[in-house]
């Protein structure tokens, strides 16, 4: 395939995914509403003490982001799998990893980016000090693409299963642990004026690694699920 054809295919896939997403906008709002609701539950559950909320804020917000992402991952490949489009994509001769990457990018723009945009609201609810907000947003910008990339592997592995959704979360949560640790540490450190660039640096390294490796694993998983 020529370089031009690959690029065109990538753009075409993205465009298609956006069109489909736009048609299902209500469905895409669900994980985001979930995000808001889950964060709201914490003050209700542990009490509204500002200091307590502030101390758990980075963790709570990030965990809510994980949960919301996993919810949106289940349908990542499912409808294309069910109507045969996925099979056509595999047969098309285009690099399957590229197709997987296109789908992942679309997922992040539609599901991950809104989390980033909502995070200031969440930070306010959880009483996160201002020093932490910028780093929270930064950590989410770096981290949510990784959530999409690694989550796509799980989504591809479970797409042919009827109740794949729950299993997907179980598969993917252990893999998210390092990200969670680094991100929450970065935000907590920023709040108390300790260095946080190391954590963000490692997260960026993780992003680059997932960007180069995950699409191939996702492609292998898709091929597997289709056979």
């Amino acid at each position: 395939m020529s370089r031009q054809a690959t690029g065109t295919a990538f753009v075409a896939l993205l465009r298609r995914d956006f069109l489909l997403a736009y048609r299902r906008r209500a469905e895409l709002l669900q994980p985001l509403v979930f995000l808001l609701v889950v964060v709201t539950l914490f003050p209700l559950g542990v009490g509204p003490s500002p200091n307590l909320l502030a101390s758990i804020a980075p963790g709570v917000i990030w965990i809510a982001a994980l949960l919301a992402t996993v919810l949106s991952l289940d349908s990542l490949f499912r409808s294309d799998f069910e109507d045969g489009t996925l099979e056509q994509m595999v047969l098309s001769g285009q690099s399957l990893a590229l197709i997987a990457l296109a789908r992942t990018v679309a997922h992040w723009l539609v599901a991950g980016l809104p989390i980033v945009l909502l995070s200031p609201l969440l930070a306010m609810w959880m009483n996160l000090p201002d020093e932490g907000l910028a780093i929270l947003v930064e950590s989410l910008i770096i981290g949510t693409p990784v959530l999409s990339l690694i989550g796509a592997i799980g989504g591809a592995l479970t797409v042919s299963l009827k109740r794949g959704g729950q299993l997907l979360s179980l598969l993917v949560f252990p893999l998210y642990v390092p990200l969670l640790i680094l991100a929450t540490s970065a935000v907590s450190s920023a709040v108390v004026d300790l260095p946080y660039t190391g954590q963000l640096g490692l997260m960026t390294a993780g992003l680059i690694a997932s960007l180069t490796l995950a699409p191939f694993a996702t492609a292998a998983a898709l091929k597997l699920s289709l056979n």
């Binding site: 179980l170 252990p174 893999l175 390092p178 640790i181 694993a217």
Partner: protein, 249 residues
């Protein structure tokens, strides 16, 4: 033909594998029992109690080998998984999925013995220290592989999915371990020492014996489970019918 190549080619054949693993298994069990009895004798009777931790250190002879096995088995699953996926060797798929429950058992054992070691020594059943936490995440990785395998209808597809998941998990495992270890140093509550400055030789030998013993346990159990899986998957084939008539006599 090259004998090594021939050997590997033969092990790929289910009836051959079934027959010869059946001969190997009793020996593996025998060695396991021998090492365990001797190791536990040295560890429980001969070796002294620890200077700082007292008698509870005797749990170490269970906890450390099982923790080592939990990680070794996952690593092996990943390697076998790569071979299974790249070369489509069915026996490797069988070995991957047969290893998972054994690995999970060792992980659970490591967690529980660690917990019971912690209570008398450091005052609490559970603590989010680096090792226990990573072990717990590892247990979840094992559960994920096992559940993923069981979710598929078709056995070979299931095994390939499980293999891929093991590989992905194994790649992440060092990252998970280091991130948890680092996280733990951040949130260091009381200092959770490890086994101390160094291990006394009278304790080292039983530890190594138990560590070796667990490897033979894994070998025997793995082959046992692999044979069962082959029987199940091939139950319509002639070689299973032959086994059936042979083993009923």
């Amino acid at each position: 033909m090259n004998p090594i190549y021939l050997f590997f080619h033969k092990t790929g054949s289910p009836p051959w594998f079934y027959k010869y693993s059946g001969k190997l298994i009793p020996w593996l069990w025998a060695i396991f029992l021998g090492l365990t009895v001797y190791g536990l004798y040295l560890g429980l009777v001969v070796a002294p109690a620890d200077y700082q931790q007292g008698e509870s250190v005797r749990i170490m002879y269970l906890h450390v080998p099982s923790a080592w096995m939990s990680m070794m088995i996952y690593g092996l699953m990943a390697i076998m998984g790569i071979i299974a996926l790249v070369w489509r060797i069915r026996i490797m798929e069988v070995l991957v999925i047969s290893s998972a429950p054994v690995g999970a058992a060792f992980t659970a054992m490591a967690l529980i013995t660690g917990s019971l070691w912690g209570r008398p020594t450091w005052g609490t059943y559970w603590v989010w220290d680096a090792r226990l936490t990573s072990e717990l995440v590892l247990l979840f990785l094992y559960f994920g592989v096992i559940l993923l395998y069981n979710a598929f209808d078709e056995p070979r597809k299931a095994a390939r999915a499980a293999s891929l998941m093991s590989i992905v998990g194994a790649v992440n495992l060092p990252i998970i371990y280091f991130s948890v270890e680092w996280w733990n140093t951040l949130h260091q509550g009381s200092s959770m020492g490890s086994e101390g400055p160094g291990i006394h030789p009278s304790m080292l030998l039983p530890l190594l014996l138990m560590a070796t013993a667990t490897k033979f346990f894994y070998g025997a159990n793995l082959l046992s489970r692999a044979r069962l899986l082959l029987l199940k998957q091939d139950h319509r084939k002639r070689w299973v019918q032959d086994v059936l008539s042979k083993e009923s006599n």
